[in-house]
Symmetry: C2
Subunit: 332 residues, 2 copies
Protein backbone atom coordinates (compact mmCIF):
# COMPACT_ATOMS: atom_id res chain seq x y z
CA UNK A 1 0.00 0.00 0.00
CA UNK A 2 2.25 2.75 -1.27
CA UNK A 3 2.21 6.14 -2.91
CA UNK A 4 3.33 9.43 -1.44
CA UNK A 5 0.07 9.93 0.49
CA UNK A 6 -0.33 6.40 1.93
CA UNK A 7 -3.65 4.55 1.99
CA UNK A 8 -5.94 7.62 2.28
CA UNK A 9 -6.02 8.58 -1.40
CA UNK A 10 -5.90 4.98 -2.57
CA UNK A 11 -8.81 3.76 -0.42
CA UNK A 12 -10.93 6.78 -1.39
CA UNK A 13 -10.23 6.12 -5.09
CA UNK A 14 -10.94 2.42 -4.64
CA UNK A 15 -14.35 3.03 -3.06
CA UNK A 16 -15.33 5.34 -5.93
CA UNK A 17 -14.04 2.83 -8.45
CA UNK A 18 -15.94 -0.10 -6.96
CA UNK A 19 -19.14 2.00 -7.12
CA UNK A 20 -18.43 2.64 -10.81
CA UNK A 21 -17.61 -1.01 -11.59
CA UNK A 22 -20.24 -3.17 -9.82
CA UNK A 23 -18.63 -6.40 -11.04
CA UNK A 24 -15.23 -5.66 -9.56
CA UNK A 25 -13.83 -6.55 -6.17
CA UNK A 26 -10.52 -5.75 -4.51
CA UNK A 27 -7.76 -7.36 -2.52
CA UNK A 28 -5.96 -4.64 -0.56
CA UNK A 29 -2.53 -5.36 0.93
CA UNK A 30 -1.15 -3.12 3.68
CA UNK A 31 -1.36 -2.14 7.32
CA UNK A 32 -4.69 -3.47 8.56
CA UNK A 33 -5.09 -0.78 11.21
CA UNK A 34 -4.49 2.08 8.80
CA UNK A 35 -6.72 0.53 6.16
CA UNK A 36 -9.50 -0.04 8.68
CA UNK A 37 -9.38 3.63 9.65
CA UNK A 38 -9.70 4.71 6.03
CA UNK A 39 -12.41 2.19 5.26
CA UNK A 40 -14.42 3.23 8.33
CA UNK A 41 -15.52 6.36 6.43
CA UNK A 42 -17.51 4.12 4.09
CA UNK A 43 -20.91 3.03 5.39
CA UNK A 44 -22.00 0.97 2.39
CA UNK A 45 -21.70 -2.56 3.75
CA UNK A 46 -22.32 -4.33 0.42
CA UNK A 47 -19.50 -2.31 -1.12
CA UNK A 48 -17.23 -3.04 1.86
CA UNK A 49 -17.92 -6.74 1.38
CA UNK A 50 -16.15 -6.48 -1.99
CA UNK A 51 -12.93 -5.32 -0.32
CA UNK A 52 -10.71 -8.00 1.19
CA UNK A 53 -7.98 -6.50 3.38
CA UNK A 54 -4.78 -8.56 3.81
CA UNK A 55 -2.46 -7.37 6.53
CA UNK A 56 1.26 -6.86 5.75
CA UNK A 57 4.02 -5.59 8.00
CA UNK A 58 6.64 -5.20 5.33
CA UNK A 59 6.60 -2.09 3.18
CA UNK A 60 8.90 -1.21 0.26
CA UNK A 61 10.48 2.23 0.52
CA UNK A 62 11.19 4.48 -2.46
CA UNK A 63 14.93 4.10 -1.93
CA UNK A 64 14.88 0.28 -1.70
CA UNK A 65 16.89 -1.28 -4.52
CA UNK A 66 15.14 -3.96 -6.60
CA UNK A 67 17.85 -6.51 -5.71
CA UNK A 68 17.33 -5.90 -2.00
CA UNK A 69 13.54 -6.10 -2.40
CA UNK A 70 13.90 -9.52 -4.04
CA UNK A 71 16.12 -10.73 -1.20
CA UNK A 72 14.27 -9.29 1.80
CA UNK A 73 10.83 -7.97 0.87
CA UNK A 74 8.98 -10.49 -1.25
CA UNK A 75 6.37 -10.62 1.56
CA UNK A 76 5.74 -6.87 1.36
CA UNK A 77 2.34 -5.49 0.38
CA UNK A 78 3.64 -5.02 -3.18
CA UNK A 79 5.12 -8.52 -3.29
CA UNK A 80 1.89 -10.13 -2.13
CA UNK A 81 -0.19 -8.07 -4.55
CA UNK A 82 1.93 -9.28 -7.48
CA UNK A 83 1.76 -12.84 -6.10
CA UNK A 84 -2.05 -12.62 -6.07
CA UNK A 85 -1.92 -12.05 -9.85
CA UNK A 86 0.53 -14.94 -10.27
CA UNK A 87 -1.82 -17.19 -8.28
CA UNK A 88 -4.81 -16.15 -10.38
CA UNK A 89 -6.46 -14.77 -7.26
CA UNK A 90 -6.40 -11.27 -8.79
CA UNK A 91 -6.68 -10.31 -12.47
CA UNK A 92 -4.60 -7.16 -12.09
CA UNK A 93 -2.28 -5.46 -9.62
CA UNK A 94 -1.95 -1.68 -9.12
CA UNK A 95 0.77 0.04 -7.13
CA UNK A 96 1.78 3.66 -6.54
CA UNK A 97 5.10 2.57 -5.02
CA UNK A 98 8.69 1.97 -6.11
CA UNK A 99 8.71 1.29 -9.88
CA UNK A 100 11.98 -0.67 -9.93
CA UNK A 101 10.73 -2.94 -7.16
CA UNK A 102 7.40 -3.49 -8.92
CA UNK A 103 9.22 -4.40 -12.12
CA UNK A 104 11.57 -6.80 -10.29
CA UNK A 105 8.72 -8.49 -8.42
CA UNK A 106 6.70 -8.72 -11.64
CA UNK A 107 9.61 -10.35 -13.47
CA UNK A 108 10.22 -12.91 -10.70
CA UNK A 109 6.60 -13.77 -9.95
CA UNK A 110 4.90 -13.40 -13.32
CA UNK A 111 7.75 -13.80 -15.83
CA UNK A 112 7.51 -12.27 -19.29
CA UNK A 113 5.31 -13.12 -22.25
CA UNK A 114 6.80 -15.50 -24.88
CA UNK A 115 9.74 -13.93 -26.73
CA UNK A 116 9.81 -10.80 -24.56
CA UNK A 117 13.13 -10.27 -22.80
CA UNK A 118 12.18 -7.24 -20.66
CA UNK A 119 8.88 -5.46 -20.00
CA UNK A 120 8.41 -1.79 -20.89
CA UNK A 121 6.47 0.95 -19.14
CA UNK A 122 3.61 1.94 -21.42
CA UNK A 123 1.01 4.67 -21.00
CA UNK A 124 -1.42 6.69 -23.06
CA UNK A 125 -1.07 10.43 -23.58
CA UNK A 126 -3.29 13.09 -25.22
CA UNK A 127 -2.85 14.07 -28.87
CA UNK A 128 -4.58 16.54 -31.19
CA UNK A 129 -6.78 13.71 -32.46
CA UNK A 130 -7.31 11.60 -29.35
CA UNK A 131 -4.74 9.59 -27.50
CA UNK A 132 -1.76 7.37 -28.29
CA UNK A 133 0.34 4.73 -26.55
CA UNK A 134 3.99 5.39 -25.79
CA UNK A 135 6.66 2.97 -24.57
CA UNK A 136 9.18 2.57 -22.98
CA UNK A 137 8.75 5.33 -20.42
CA UNK A 138 11.68 4.44 -18.21
CA UNK A 139 12.09 0.75 -17.45
CA UNK A 140 15.01 0.21 -19.86
CA UNK A 141 17.26 3.24 -20.24
CA UNK A 142 19.21 1.82 -23.17
CA UNK A 143 17.59 -0.59 -25.59
CA UNK A 144 18.85 -2.87 -28.33
CA UNK A 145 17.04 -2.93 -31.69
CA UNK A 146 15.62 -6.32 -30.64
CA UNK A 147 14.15 -4.84 -27.46
CA UNK A 148 12.65 -1.87 -29.31
CA UNK A 149 11.17 -4.35 -31.78
CA UNK A 150 9.56 -6.24 -28.90
CA UNK A 151 8.18 -2.97 -27.49
CA UNK A 152 6.70 -2.05 -30.89
CA UNK A 153 5.03 -5.44 -31.04
CA UNK A 154 3.71 -5.21 -27.47
CA UNK A 155 2.39 -1.69 -28.03
CA UNK A 156 0.79 -2.60 -31.31
CA UNK A 157 -0.94 -5.73 -29.97
CA UNK A 158 -2.12 -3.77 -26.92
CA UNK A 159 -3.63 -0.95 -29.00
CA UNK A 160 -5.31 -3.64 -31.08
CA UNK A 161 -6.71 -5.48 -28.05
CA UNK A 162 -7.76 -2.49 -25.96
CA UNK A 163 -8.77 0.09 -28.59
CA UNK A 164 -9.97 -2.27 -31.30
CA UNK A 165 -7.67 -0.69 -33.91
CA UNK A 166 -7.14 -3.26 -36.69
CA UNK A 167 -3.61 -2.24 -37.69
CA UNK A 168 -2.27 0.32 -35.20
CA UNK A 169 0.28 2.72 -36.73
CA UNK A 170 3.72 2.55 -35.14
CA UNK A 171 6.56 5.08 -35.28
CA UNK A 172 10.02 5.27 -33.73
CA UNK A 173 11.14 8.45 -31.96
CA UNK A 174 14.16 9.94 -33.71
CA UNK A 175 15.88 13.29 -34.27
CA UNK A 176 14.58 13.55 -37.83
CA UNK A 177 12.10 11.86 -40.13
CA UNK A 178 14.58 11.07 -42.90
CA UNK A 179 15.81 7.46 -43.08
CA UNK A 180 19.42 8.52 -42.61
CA UNK A 181 18.77 10.16 -39.23
CA UNK A 182 19.86 8.66 -35.91
CA UNK A 183 22.57 6.11 -35.32
CA UNK A 184 23.14 2.54 -36.41
CA UNK A 185 20.80 1.20 -33.68
CA UNK A 186 17.97 3.29 -35.07
CA UNK A 187 18.50 2.01 -38.62
CA UNK A 188 18.57 -1.60 -37.39
CA UNK A 189 15.39 -1.10 -35.38
CA UNK A 190 13.64 0.48 -38.36
CA UNK A 191 14.64 -2.52 -40.49
CA UNK A 192 13.20 -4.97 -37.92
CA UNK A 193 9.93 -3.06 -37.66
CA UNK A 194 9.56 -2.69 -41.44
CA UNK A 195 10.03 -6.42 -41.93
CA UNK A 196 7.47 -7.47 -39.29
CA UNK A 197 4.04 -8.26 -40.82
CA UNK A 198 2.35 -7.74 -37.42
CA UNK A 199 3.61 -4.14 -37.19
CA UNK A 200 2.17 -1.31 -39.27
CA UNK A 201 5.42 0.66 -39.18
CA UNK A 202 5.29 4.17 -40.65
CA UNK A 203 8.83 5.40 -39.97
CA UNK A 204 10.41 7.92 -37.60
CA UNK A 205 8.62 10.59 -35.62
CA UNK A 206 10.26 13.67 -34.13
CA UNK A 207 9.34 15.06 -30.72
CA UNK A 208 6.93 17.60 -32.16
CA UNK A 209 5.15 14.92 -34.21
CA UNK A 210 4.33 12.86 -31.11
CA UNK A 211 1.29 15.04 -30.37
CA UNK A 212 -0.11 15.15 -33.90
CA UNK A 213 -2.11 12.02 -33.20
CA UNK A 214 -1.41 10.19 -36.45
CA UNK A 215 0.55 7.49 -34.63
CA UNK A 216 -1.18 4.95 -32.40
CA UNK A 217 2.01 3.60 -30.85
CA UNK A 218 5.17 5.63 -30.29
CA UNK A 219 8.29 3.58 -29.50
CA UNK A 220 11.54 4.72 -27.90
CA UNK A 221 14.09 3.69 -25.28
CA UNK A 222 13.22 4.29 -21.63
CA UNK A 223 15.55 7.26 -21.18
CA UNK A 224 14.07 9.13 -24.14
CA UNK A 225 10.48 8.23 -23.22
CA UNK A 226 10.90 9.26 -19.61
CA UNK A 227 12.42 12.63 -20.53
CA UNK A 228 9.81 13.28 -23.24
CA UNK A 229 6.90 12.44 -20.94
CA UNK A 230 8.19 14.44 -18.00
CA UNK A 231 9.20 17.39 -20.18
CA UNK A 232 5.61 17.48 -21.45
CA UNK A 233 4.25 17.36 -17.90
CA UNK A 234 6.64 20.13 -16.87
CA UNK A 235 5.66 22.36 -19.76
CA UNK A 236 1.93 21.80 -19.17
CA UNK A 237 2.41 22.65 -15.48
CA UNK A 238 4.35 25.80 -16.38
CA UNK A 239 1.71 26.99 -18.85
CA UNK A 240 -1.02 26.33 -16.28
CA UNK A 241 0.92 28.25 -13.64
CA UNK A 242 1.60 31.20 -15.95
CA UNK A 243 -2.07 31.31 -16.91
CA UNK A 244 -3.17 31.36 -13.26
CA UNK A 245 -0.63 34.04 -12.35
CA UNK A 246 -1.73 36.28 -15.21
CA UNK A 247 -5.36 35.69 -14.28
CA UNK A 248 -4.72 36.66 -10.67
CA UNK A 249 -3.13 39.90 -11.83
CA UNK A 250 -6.11 41.22 -13.80
CA UNK A 251 -9.79 41.54 -12.87
CA UNK A 252 -10.68 42.18 -16.53
CA UNK A 253 -9.12 38.84 -17.44
CA UNK A 254 -11.01 37.20 -14.56
CA UNK A 255 -14.29 38.43 -16.03
CA UNK A 256 -13.22 36.94 -19.35
CA UNK A 257 -12.45 33.66 -17.62
CA UNK A 258 -16.06 33.45 -16.43
CA UNK A 259 -17.24 33.53 -20.05
CA UNK A 260 -14.54 31.03 -21.02
CA UNK A 261 -15.15 28.70 -18.11
CA UNK A 262 -16.56 25.79 -20.12
CA UNK A 263 -13.76 26.10 -22.66
CA UNK A 264 -11.03 26.23 -20.03
CA UNK A 265 -12.46 23.30 -18.08
CA UNK A 266 -12.70 21.31 -21.31
CA UNK A 267 -9.13 22.09 -22.29
CA UNK A 268 -7.82 21.30 -18.83
CA UNK A 269 -9.59 17.96 -18.68
CA UNK A 270 -8.21 17.01 -22.13
CA UNK A 271 -4.69 17.70 -20.90
CA UNK A 272 -5.05 16.71 -17.22
CA UNK A 273 -2.15 14.37 -16.33
CA UNK A 274 -4.50 12.65 -13.83
CA UNK A 275 -6.49 11.33 -16.77
CA UNK A 276 -3.38 9.64 -18.16
CA UNK A 277 -2.17 8.17 -14.86
CA UNK A 278 -1.65 4.43 -14.79
CA UNK A 279 1.11 2.84 -16.86
CA UNK A 280 1.26 -0.83 -17.84
CA UNK A 281 4.37 -2.85 -17.13
CA UNK A 282 3.81 -4.28 -20.58
CA UNK A 283 5.36 -7.63 -21.42
CA UNK A 284 4.77 -9.25 -18.04
CA UNK A 285 2.62 -12.34 -18.04
CA UNK A 286 -0.04 -10.59 -15.94
CA UNK A 287 -1.59 -7.14 -15.63
CA UNK A 288 0.56 -4.86 -13.48
CA UNK A 289 -0.19 -1.14 -13.46
CA UNK A 290 1.99 1.58 -11.95
CA UNK A 291 0.34 4.73 -10.66
CA UNK A 292 2.24 7.96 -10.18
CA UNK A 293 3.43 8.10 -6.55
CA UNK A 294 1.92 11.53 -6.03
CA UNK A 295 -1.41 10.59 -7.63
CA UNK A 296 -4.55 12.36 -6.49
CA UNK A 297 -7.76 10.42 -5.83
CA UNK A 298 -8.88 11.16 -9.39
CA UNK A 299 -5.52 10.11 -10.83
CA UNK A 300 -5.39 6.86 -8.83
CA UNK A 301 -8.97 6.22 -9.92
CA UNK A 302 -7.79 6.44 -13.51
CA UNK A 303 -4.98 3.97 -12.82
CA UNK A 304 -7.64 1.60 -11.46
CA UNK A 305 -9.62 2.06 -14.69
CA UNK A 306 -6.50 1.26 -16.71
CA UNK A 307 -5.96 -1.95 -14.74
CA UNK A 308 -9.62 -2.95 -14.92
CA UNK A 309 -9.70 -2.35 -18.67
CA UNK A 310 -6.67 -4.56 -19.26
CA UNK A 311 -8.10 -7.25 -16.99
CA UNK A 312 -11.50 -7.06 -18.74
CA UNK A 313 -9.78 -7.54 -22.10
CA UNK A 314 -7.62 -10.31 -20.64
CA UNK A 315 -4.60 -8.54 -22.12
CA UNK A 316 -1.79 -10.99 -21.32
CA UNK A 317 -4.09 -13.89 -22.23
CA UNK A 318 -4.72 -12.35 -25.67
CA UNK A 319 -1.09 -11.42 -26.33
CA UNK A 320 0.48 -14.65 -25.10
CA UNK A 321 -0.71 -17.06 -27.84
CA UNK A 322 0.10 -14.55 -30.59
CA UNK A 323 3.63 -14.14 -29.28
CA UNK A 324 3.95 -17.90 -28.70
CA UNK A 325 2.80 -18.53 -32.27
CA UNK A 326 5.60 -16.32 -33.57
CA UNK A 327 8.12 -18.22 -31.46
CA UNK A 328 6.79 -21.54 -32.77
CA UNK A 329 7.18 -20.25 -36.32
CA UNK A 330 10.76 -19.28 -35.59
CA UNK A 331 10.15 -15.51 -35.64
CA UNK A 332 12.21 -13.70 -33.08
Amino acid sequence: MGGDFGPRVIVAALITSLRKHPGASALVFGDQQMLATELSTCTDSSLLSRIDVRHCDSVIADEDKPSSVLRHKQDSSMGLAVQAVADGEAQACISAGNTGALMALGLVRLRTLPGISRPAICATYPTSLGRSYMLDLGANLECSPQQLHQFALLGSLTAQALEGIAAPTVRLVNVGEEETKGGENMAQTAALLSADPLINYLGYVEGDGIFEGNTDVVVCDGFTGNVALKTSEGLATMINGMFKALLASSWVARIGAIFMRTLLVGLKSRLDPAFYNGAYLLGLNGVVVKSHGGASKKAFGHALDVALDAAKHNLPGVLSPILQGRMDNGIK
Copy 2:
Protein backbone atom coordinates in the same frame (compact mmCIF):
# COMPACT_ATOMS: atom_id res chain seq x y z
CA MET B 1 20.96 31.84 -48.33
CA GLY B 2 18.85 29.02 -47.06
CA GLY B 3 15.76 28.27 -45.02
CA ASP B 4 12.51 26.76 -46.23
CA PHE B 5 11.22 30.08 -47.61
CA GLY B 6 14.38 31.26 -49.43
CA PRO B 7 15.67 34.83 -49.21
CA ARG B 8 12.30 36.58 -48.81
CA VAL B 9 11.85 36.06 -45.07
CA ILE B 10 15.55 36.43 -44.36
CA VAL B 11 15.98 39.73 -46.21
CA ALA B 12 12.84 41.16 -44.59
CA ALA B 13 14.13 40.17 -41.14
CA LEU B 14 17.57 41.56 -41.93
CA ILE B 15 16.20 44.96 -42.91
CA THR B 16 14.21 45.19 -39.68
CA SER B 17 17.23 44.06 -37.68
CA LEU B 18 19.58 46.62 -39.24
CA ARG B 19 17.05 49.34 -38.38
CA LYS B 20 17.07 48.11 -34.78
CA HIS B 21 20.87 47.86 -34.58
CA PRO B 22 22.29 51.01 -36.19
CA GLY B 23 25.88 49.87 -35.62
CA ALA B 24 25.49 46.59 -37.46
CA SER B 25 26.08 45.78 -41.12
CA ALA B 26 25.59 42.59 -43.12
CA LEU B 27 27.31 40.43 -45.67
CA VAL B 28 24.66 38.42 -47.50
CA PHE B 29 25.69 35.37 -49.54
CA GLY B 30 23.33 33.98 -52.17
CA ASP B 31 21.80 34.42 -55.58
CA GLN B 32 22.41 38.07 -56.49
CA GLN B 33 19.35 38.30 -58.70
CA MET B 34 16.98 36.94 -56.07
CA LEU B 35 18.52 39.05 -53.35
CA ALA B 36 18.29 42.20 -55.51
CA THR B 37 14.58 41.53 -56.03
CA GLU B 38 14.00 41.21 -52.29
CA LEU B 39 16.14 44.23 -51.45
CA SER B 40 14.35 46.38 -54.05
CA THR B 41 11.40 46.66 -51.66
CA CYS B 42 13.62 48.71 -49.33
CA THR B 43 13.95 52.39 -50.27
CA ASP B 44 16.22 53.47 -47.40
CA SER B 45 19.53 53.94 -49.22
CA SER B 46 21.63 54.47 -46.09
CA LEU B 47 20.33 51.17 -44.73
CA LEU B 48 20.97 49.43 -48.06
CA SER B 49 24.56 50.72 -47.97
CA ARG B 50 25.06 48.55 -44.84
CA ILE B 51 24.20 45.39 -46.82
CA ASP B 52 26.94 43.87 -48.95
CA VAL B 53 25.60 41.18 -51.30
CA ARG B 54 28.06 38.48 -52.44
CA HIS B 55 26.84 36.32 -55.28
CA CYS B 56 27.07 32.51 -54.98
CA ASP B 57 25.93 29.88 -57.44
CA SER B 58 26.36 26.92 -55.14
CA VAL B 59 23.62 26.15 -52.64
CA ILE B 60 23.54 23.41 -49.99
CA ALA B 61 20.39 21.29 -50.06
CA ASP B 62 18.75 19.83 -46.96
CA GLU B 63 19.64 16.31 -48.07
CA ASP B 64 23.34 17.05 -48.75
CA LYS B 65 25.58 15.04 -46.46
CA PRO B 66 28.21 16.96 -44.49
CA SER B 67 31.01 14.89 -46.07
CA SER B 68 29.80 15.74 -49.59
CA VAL B 69 29.43 19.42 -48.64
CA LEU B 70 33.07 19.48 -47.51
CA ARG B 71 34.20 17.87 -50.77
CA HIS B 72 32.06 19.77 -53.26
CA LYS B 73 30.36 22.79 -51.71
CA GLN B 74 32.83 24.78 -49.67
CA ASP B 75 32.15 27.69 -52.07
CA SER B 76 28.41 27.62 -51.33
CA SER B 77 26.67 30.58 -49.70
CA MET B 78 26.93 28.81 -46.34
CA GLY B 79 30.60 27.95 -46.88
CA LEU B 80 31.49 31.53 -47.75
CA ALA B 81 29.50 32.92 -44.82
CA VAL B 82 31.43 30.71 -42.39
CA GLN B 83 34.67 31.65 -44.16
CA ALA B 84 33.87 35.34 -43.62
CA VAL B 85 33.87 34.67 -39.86
CA ALA B 86 37.13 32.72 -40.15
CA ASP B 87 38.69 35.65 -42.04
CA GLY B 88 37.50 38.16 -39.44
CA GLU B 89 35.43 39.90 -42.09
CA ALA B 90 32.24 39.04 -40.16
CA GLN B 91 31.79 38.70 -36.41
CA ALA B 92 28.99 36.15 -36.69
CA CYS B 93 27.34 33.89 -39.23
CA ILE B 94 23.64 32.97 -39.30
CA SER B 95 22.08 30.25 -41.44
CA ALA B 96 18.63 28.69 -41.71
CA GLY B 97 20.01 25.83 -43.81
CA ASN B 98 21.32 22.29 -43.33
CA THR B 99 22.53 21.93 -39.72
CA GLY B 100 24.97 19.09 -40.37
CA ALA B 101 26.60 21.04 -43.20
CA LEU B 102 26.85 24.17 -41.05
CA MET B 103 28.49 22.18 -38.28
CA ALA B 104 30.94 20.52 -40.69
CA LEU B 105 31.89 23.82 -42.35
CA GLY B 106 32.25 25.46 -38.92
CA LEU B 107 34.54 22.67 -37.74
CA VAL B 108 36.75 22.86 -40.84
CA ARG B 109 36.91 26.64 -41.18
CA LEU B 110 36.76 27.83 -37.58
CA ARG B 111 37.97 24.81 -35.59
CA THR B 112 36.92 24.38 -31.97
CA LEU B 113 37.84 26.31 -28.85
CA PRO B 114 40.77 24.95 -26.76
CA GLY B 115 39.97 21.58 -25.19
CA ILE B 116 36.60 21.23 -26.95
CA SER B 117 36.36 18.10 -29.08
CA ARG B 118 32.95 18.77 -30.67
CA PRO B 119 30.59 21.75 -30.62
CA ALA B 120 27.06 21.47 -29.24
CA ILE B 121 23.84 23.11 -30.35
CA CYS B 122 22.74 25.44 -27.56
CA ALA B 123 19.61 27.57 -27.29
CA THR B 124 17.56 29.34 -24.65
CA TYR B 125 14.02 28.28 -23.74
CA PRO B 126 11.32 29.78 -21.49
CA THR B 127 10.94 28.75 -17.84
CA SER B 128 8.60 29.72 -15.01
CA LEU B 129 11.20 32.22 -13.79
CA GLY B 130 12.72 33.47 -17.06
CA ARG B 131 14.85 31.53 -19.47
CA SER B 132 17.58 28.90 -19.38
CA TYR B 133 20.24 27.53 -21.72
CA MET B 134 20.06 23.95 -22.92
CA LEU B 135 22.66 21.92 -24.80
CA ASP B 136 23.24 19.71 -26.76
CA LEU B 137 20.09 19.96 -28.88
CA GLY B 138 21.10 17.52 -31.58
CA ALA B 139 24.66 17.86 -32.84
CA ASN B 140 25.98 14.80 -30.96
CA LEU B 141 23.43 12.03 -30.53
CA GLU B 142 25.54 10.01 -28.12
CA CYS B 143 27.99 11.74 -25.80
CA SER B 144 30.83 10.57 -23.58
CA PRO B 145 31.09 11.94 -20.02
CA GLN B 146 34.02 14.05 -21.26
CA GLN B 147 31.88 15.61 -23.99
CA LEU B 148 29.01 16.33 -21.60
CA HIS B 149 31.55 17.90 -19.25
CA GLN B 150 32.74 20.15 -22.09
CA PHE B 151 29.14 21.11 -22.86
CA ALA B 152 28.49 21.97 -19.22
CA LEU B 153 31.56 24.18 -19.23
CA LEU B 154 30.62 25.86 -22.53
CA GLY B 155 27.05 26.47 -21.36
CA SER B 156 28.16 27.80 -18.02
CA LEU B 157 30.76 30.18 -19.47
CA THR B 158 28.21 31.36 -22.06
CA ALA B 159 25.52 32.09 -19.46
CA GLN B 160 28.19 33.95 -17.49
CA ALA B 161 29.33 36.01 -20.50
CA LEU B 162 25.93 36.76 -22.03
CA GLU B 163 23.66 36.98 -18.99
CA GLY B 164 26.16 38.25 -16.45
CA ILE B 165 25.35 35.42 -14.03
CA ALA B 166 28.34 35.02 -11.67
CA ALA B 167 28.03 31.27 -11.07
CA PRO B 168 25.38 29.80 -13.40
CA THR B 169 23.67 26.73 -11.97
CA VAL B 170 24.14 23.59 -14.04
CA ARG B 171 22.13 20.36 -14.00
CA LEU B 172 22.27 17.13 -16.00
CA VAL B 173 19.08 15.69 -17.51
CA ASN B 174 18.34 12.27 -16.05
CA VAL B 175 15.41 9.93 -15.33
CA GLY B 176 15.47 10.75 -11.62
CA GLU B 177 17.06 13.18 -9.21
CA GLU B 178 18.63 10.56 -6.93
CA GLU B 179 22.37 9.98 -7.37
CA THR B 180 21.84 6.32 -8.23
CA LYS B 181 19.63 7.07 -11.26
CA GLY B 182 20.80 6.66 -14.85
CA GLY B 183 23.63 4.54 -16.14
CA GLU B 184 27.37 4.48 -15.61
CA ASN B 185 27.92 7.32 -18.11
CA MET B 186 25.63 9.54 -16.08
CA ALA B 187 27.49 8.82 -12.83
CA GLN B 188 30.84 9.52 -14.48
CA THR B 189 29.57 12.79 -15.93
CA ALA B 190 28.18 13.86 -12.56
CA ALA B 191 31.57 13.15 -10.99
CA LEU B 192 33.37 15.28 -13.59
CA LEU B 193 30.94 18.18 -13.15
CA SER B 194 31.08 18.02 -9.35
CA ALA B 195 34.87 18.16 -9.38
CA ASP B 196 35.12 21.16 -11.74
CA PRO B 197 35.57 24.45 -9.84
CA LEU B 198 34.32 26.43 -12.87
CA ILE B 199 30.97 24.61 -12.84
CA ASN B 200 28.26 25.27 -10.24
CA TYR B 201 26.83 21.76 -10.54
CA LEU B 202 23.59 21.09 -8.65
CA GLY B 203 22.84 17.50 -9.69
CA TYR B 204 20.30 15.82 -11.93
CA VAL B 205 17.11 17.34 -13.28
CA GLU B 206 14.14 15.38 -14.62
CA GLY B 207 12.16 16.45 -17.67
CA ASP B 208 9.51 18.20 -15.59
CA GLY B 209 12.14 20.16 -13.64
CA ILE B 210 13.59 21.69 -16.82
CA PHE B 211 10.86 24.36 -16.84
CA GLU B 212 11.05 25.29 -13.16
CA GLY B 213 13.69 27.86 -13.96
CA ASN B 214 16.05 27.11 -11.08
CA THR B 215 18.75 25.88 -13.48
CA ASP B 216 20.64 28.29 -15.73
CA VAL B 217 22.24 25.58 -17.87
CA VAL B 218 20.66 22.21 -18.65
CA VAL B 219 23.04 19.62 -20.11
CA CYS B 220 22.20 16.43 -22.02
CA ASP B 221 23.23 14.45 -25.09
CA GLY B 222 21.98 15.63 -28.46
CA PHE B 223 19.37 12.90 -28.88
CA THR B 224 17.74 13.67 -25.53
CA GLY B 225 17.93 17.44 -26.03
CA ASN B 226 16.47 17.28 -29.50
CA VAL B 227 13.54 15.11 -28.40
CA ALA B 228 12.88 17.22 -25.29
CA LEU B 229 12.92 20.49 -27.23
CA LYS B 230 10.74 19.23 -30.07
CA THR B 231 8.33 17.47 -27.70
CA SER B 232 7.85 20.81 -25.93
CA GLU B 233 7.24 22.58 -29.23
CA GLY B 234 4.77 19.89 -30.26
CA LEU B 235 2.85 20.11 -26.99
CA ALA B 236 2.73 23.92 -27.11
CA THR B 237 1.45 23.76 -30.69
CA MET B 238 -1.19 21.21 -29.72
CA ILE B 239 -2.43 23.27 -26.75
CA ASN B 240 -2.58 26.37 -28.95
CA GLY B 241 -4.53 24.46 -31.61
CA MET B 242 -6.98 22.99 -29.06
CA PHE B 243 -7.53 26.42 -27.56
CA LYS B 244 -8.28 27.94 -30.96
CA ALA B 245 -10.62 25.11 -31.93
CA LEU B 246 -12.58 25.41 -28.69
CA LEU B 247 -12.72 29.18 -29.12
CA ALA B 248 -14.07 28.84 -32.64
CA SER B 249 -16.82 26.55 -31.36
CA SER B 250 -18.32 28.98 -28.81
CA TRP B 251 -19.34 32.63 -29.11
CA VAL B 252 -19.58 32.92 -25.34
CA ALA B 253 -15.94 31.89 -25.08
CA ARG B 254 -15.05 34.39 -27.82
CA ILE B 255 -16.57 37.18 -25.74
CA GLY B 256 -14.46 35.99 -22.82
CA ALA B 257 -11.39 36.02 -25.02
CA ILE B 258 -11.91 39.73 -25.69
CA PHE B 259 -11.65 40.40 -21.96
CA MET B 260 -8.64 38.11 -21.72
CA ARG B 261 -6.89 39.47 -24.78
CA THR B 262 -3.97 41.12 -22.95
CA LEU B 263 -3.45 38.01 -20.84
CA LEU B 264 -3.52 35.66 -23.82
CA VAL B 265 -1.18 37.82 -25.90
CA GLY B 266 1.22 38.03 -22.95
CA LEU B 267 1.15 34.27 -22.41
CA LYS B 268 1.63 33.55 -26.10
CA SER B 269 4.59 35.88 -26.40
CA ARG B 270 6.24 34.30 -23.32
CA LEU B 271 5.95 30.88 -24.96
CA ASP B 272 6.32 31.84 -28.65
CA PRO B 273 8.95 29.51 -30.20
CA ALA B 274 9.89 32.38 -32.55
CA PHE B 275 11.31 34.22 -29.55
CA TYR B 276 13.64 31.31 -28.82
CA ASN B 277 14.78 30.77 -32.42
CA GLY B 278 18.52 30.94 -33.02
CA ALA B 279 20.81 28.28 -31.58
CA TYR B 280 24.56 28.64 -31.09
CA LEU B 281 26.93 26.04 -32.48
CA LEU B 282 28.72 26.42 -29.19
CA GLY B 283 32.37 25.41 -28.98
CA LEU B 284 33.36 26.66 -32.43
CA ASN B 285 36.05 29.32 -32.48
CA GLY B 286 33.63 31.84 -33.97
CA VAL B 287 29.96 32.79 -33.63
CA VAL B 288 27.76 30.55 -35.78
CA VAL B 289 24.00 30.63 -35.23
CA LYS B 290 21.48 28.21 -36.69
CA SER B 291 17.95 29.42 -37.32
CA HIS B 292 15.00 27.06 -37.68
CA GLY B 293 14.55 26.29 -41.38
CA GLY B 294 10.89 27.23 -41.28
CA ALA B 295 11.52 30.46 -39.35
CA SER B 296 9.12 33.36 -39.81
CA LYS B 297 10.42 36.92 -40.23
CA LYS B 298 10.02 37.46 -36.48
CA ALA B 299 11.79 34.18 -35.68
CA PHE B 300 14.69 34.85 -38.04
CA GLY B 301 14.92 38.34 -36.55
CA HIS B 302 15.41 36.72 -33.16
CA ALA B 303 18.17 34.50 -34.54
CA LEU B 304 19.86 37.67 -35.80
CA ASP B 305 19.56 39.14 -32.28
CA VAL B 306 21.12 35.99 -30.84
CA ALA B 307 24.07 36.26 -33.24
CA LEU B 308 24.51 39.99 -32.67
CA ASP B 309 24.43 39.51 -28.90
CA ALA B 310 27.16 36.85 -29.02
CA ALA B 311 29.23 39.00 -31.38
CA LYS B 312 28.78 42.08 -29.16
CA HIS B 313 29.99 40.08 -26.15
CA ASN B 314 32.84 38.62 -28.24
CA LEU B 315 31.79 35.20 -27.00
CA PRO B 316 34.51 32.97 -28.48
CA GLY B 317 37.10 35.63 -27.60
CA VAL B 318 36.00 35.56 -23.96
CA LEU B 319 35.76 31.77 -23.72
CA SER B 320 38.99 30.94 -25.55
CA PRO B 321 41.56 32.21 -22.97
CA ILE B 322 39.63 30.64 -20.08
CA LEU B 323 39.60 27.27 -21.82
CA GLN B 324 43.24 27.68 -22.92
CA GLY B 325 44.18 28.49 -19.31
CA ARG B 326 42.66 25.20 -18.16
CA MET B 327 44.60 23.34 -20.84
CA ASP B 328 47.83 25.05 -19.76
CA ASN B 329 47.14 24.00 -16.18
CA GLY B 330 46.64 20.43 -17.30
CA ILE B 331 42.87 20.36 -16.71
CA LYS B 332 41.05 18.34 -19.33
